[in-house]
């Protein structure tokens, strides 16, 4: 069962201790995955990995605020949301290697993970392109009168692009049930993306609602995004949520912070932590090792999925390649 489904059962709209502990474990999982993959890349075993260290509370808080029928439009690095939605570590490991068992057929970079069964759309490398898709998708749900909310993850740099502008403008005019979730890293606030006081302020230009939240605080993100989902689901249209995320590793590190809170309430302790890390690390290594053993996609698959059916010119090109 996907952690998200367990949570759905546990939850009923409230933030139970069970849910928070479940999410804490997922945050640790994501951190372990990131650190392990970065190390494996240094060893030359896998392609480059950026990860989302410091953004775990923002990513998981937003994902956990969604209902099971809601959809996620990821940008990049939101592997945590996919694992939360039940994508297995093994499946992700195959993707990292881009091998024959990668459900994405070895077509895209390792941190661009979509999955229909998890209701996660196909991410683009083009920063911000998917924000417009989330808006159109939610608009589709609205026009079919179905109770589905879409959430798009993106970061501050994506707000400079045309797609952000188009998406928010259409969201303002057509009021689809969408949550526009910006992960603004502390570090990125120094960069010259915009002179606006905040990303949240940009909502004014489009006549949509907005809120700001401490992206290092899991429970705060969860509750802020839940409100936005409720607004969306009840016909209130789009909300631009800005979650400002801390630098990882320091005192504000979202995992360390949540850990302190759980420890204080005896919901967690050093022994549990050590055991969890050992177990997760082993799972990650096992999955990667298994993926390394798997063959590459077959050459003929190069030509699949360009169109629904192979047209004559791709049949010819495939035959040529197979002949060689």
């Amino acid at each position: 069962m996907a952690p998200a489904d367990k949570a759905d059962r546990a939850r009923g709209g409230t933030t139970s201790d069970d849910l928070v502990v479940l999410l804490y474990r997922q945050m640790v999982l994501v951190r372990v995955v990131d650190e392990r993959l970065i190390a494996l890349h240094r060893e030359g075993r896998i392609p480059a990995h950026t990860g989302a260290r410091g953004e775990e509370a923002a990513i998981l808080g937003a994902a956990a605020a969604l209902r099971s029928q809601d959809w996620i439009f990821p940008s990049s690095h939101e592997i945590g949301a996919a694992l939360w939605r039940g994508i297995s570590l093994q499946s992700y490991a195959h993707k990292v290697l881009g091998n024959a068992l990668d459900p994405g057929k070895g077509r895209e970079l390792s941190e661009r993970l979509g999955a229909r069964k998890a209701k996660i759309a196909s991410p683009s490398c083009v920063a911000g392109a998917h924000i417009a898709h989330a808006v159109g998708f939610a608009w589709g749900a609205k026009s079919r009168r179905e109770d589905v909310v879409a959430l798009a993850y993106f970061d501050r740099a994506a707000t400079s692009g045309a797609d952000f502008h188009n998406a928010l403008n259409f969201a303002g005019v057509f009021k689809p049930p969408v949550v526009l979730f910006c992960r603004t890293t502390e570090a990125s606030r120094a960069s010259r993306e915009t002179a606006s006081a905040s990303v949240a302020d940009k909502a004014i230009a489009y006549g949509i609602a907005s809120s700001s939240v401490d992206g290092g605080d899991l429970v705060a993100v969860l509750s802020t995004v839940r409100d936005a989902v409720t607004t969306a689901a009840s016909g209130g249209g789009a909300t631009l949520v800005e979650a400002i995320t801390p630098r990882p590793g320091g005192a504000d590190d979202p995992i360390a912070r949540l850990r302190r809170a759980l420890d204080a309430r005896d919901l967690w302790n050093d022994a549990k932590q050590a055991e969890l890390e050992r177990q997760l690390d082993a799972e990650v290594m096992l999955a990667i090792t298994e993926a390394e053993r798997t063959i590459d996609p077959l050459v003929a698959t190069l030509f699949d999925d360009v169109y629904a059916v192979l047209p004559w010119h791709l049949r010819e090109q495939r035959a040529l390649l197979e002949k060689e």
Partner: protein
């Protein structure tokens, strides 16, 4: 059978398909209340309501980006770009997202839409109301490109395009929107994609043309006949994937080819057709394939009739090819 012009035939196809399939929605600038600047969507807003015939902000990027999202939700959007000259703000969404969605997601996320847009010159539209950008989409894998020349084909090809599983660029030759008239069956029928039509038969020279230039090709073929040259005139109808069998059969018969298109010569579809003919019928060629095309300049205003490859420019090419 009723007589229709091309505007009426396209309107008829849209109405029919919207009745048949409630997932079909239209969106674009002034497509609703106004019924489109060329009246192609006239009456649909009143019949289907503003949930399905949607006036959007002036943003082609927003229109296509949102339409992709709608398609992912399960709708079948048929966005209109008011003039194909204004499609470029949406170019990134079309070539980076729409064309690659099925592929990059390993087949999980086909994104199906039909982009309708008027193309071509001869209406005193100047640089930005006259262009024929087909090659800029044909070079991008994953897209299909259609351009009808008659009302019958326009209706049948549009219905086939909407029902096809792949994204289609549907280019409407606006110079003959009203001038092209003909019998159009009431009710449902399709014209299969990737099937050309031999609209005039002859053994001496093959002319490959489409859209508004088909009529110029036919006029030139008529003149050529007076000089004893019989032309096979092939209306490609679907530009990509093109009906290679019909083309090659004709070229094998005639050994001589003239390609006609409005778009600039360099890297236009004409070059591709010449290369394909070389690859598949080299030993049958009795003369160098010729191209009669728009010039490698922006589309002019006052001198547009000098720019277009009209019959009087096609005829000398036919004669030269035939006498080579």
């Amino acid at each position: 059978m009723p007589q229709m012009n091309m505007v009426q035939a396209i309107n008829d196809a849209l109405r029919l398909e919207m009745k048949r399939d409630d997932r079909v929605v239209i969106l674009g600038e002034d497509v609703g209340k106004v019924g489109g600047v060329f009246r192609v969507t006239a009456g649909l807003y009143d019949e289907f309501g503003d949930d399905r015939v949607i006036d959007t902000p002036l943003s082609e990027g927003g229109i296509i980006g949102a339409a992709i999202g709608m398609a992912l939700y399960g709708l079948v959007p048929v966005p209109e770009i008011q003039f194909s000259d204004f499609i470029f703000p949406a170019y990134d969404q079309i070539v980076s997202e729409l064309a690659k969605m099925r592929y990059r997601s390993g087949g999980e996320y086909p994104a199906k839409l039909v982009i309708r847009t008027p193309v071509g010159g001869g209406i005193r539209g100047g640089l930005y109301h006259s262009q024929s950008p087909e090659a800029l989409f044909m070079h991008v894998a994953g897209l299909k490109v259609v351009c009808p020349s008659t009302p019958y084909d326009a209706k049948g090809l549009l219905l086939a395009s909407i029902r096809d599983p792949d994204p289609v660029l549907f280019f409407e030759p606006k110079r003959v929107y009203r001038a092209a008239k003909g019998e159009v069956p009431e009710g449902d029928y399709t014209v299969e994609l990737s099937k050309a039509a031999v609209v005039r038969e002859g053994n001496d020279v093959t002319i490959l043309a489409w859209g508004a230039m088909l009529y110029e090709a036919l006029a030139a073929a008529g003149e050529a006949q007076k000089q004893g040259i019989e032309c096979d005139v092939v209306d490609l109808r679907t530009l990509w994937p093109v009906d290679i069998d019909t083309i090659i059969a004709s070229v094998k018969k005639t050994g001589r080819v003239v390609v006609v298109h409005e778009a600039p010569k360099t890297c236009g579809f004409g070059g591709e057709l010449v290369a394909l003919v070389n690859e598949k019928a080299f030993l049958h060629l009795e003369a160098p394939p010729m191209r009669v095309t728009g010039f490698d300049t922006p589309f002019p205003y006052t001198l547009e009739m000098e720019y277009l490859p009209l019959a009087h420019r096609i005829l000398p090419a036919i004669v030269e090819t035939a006498r080579y």
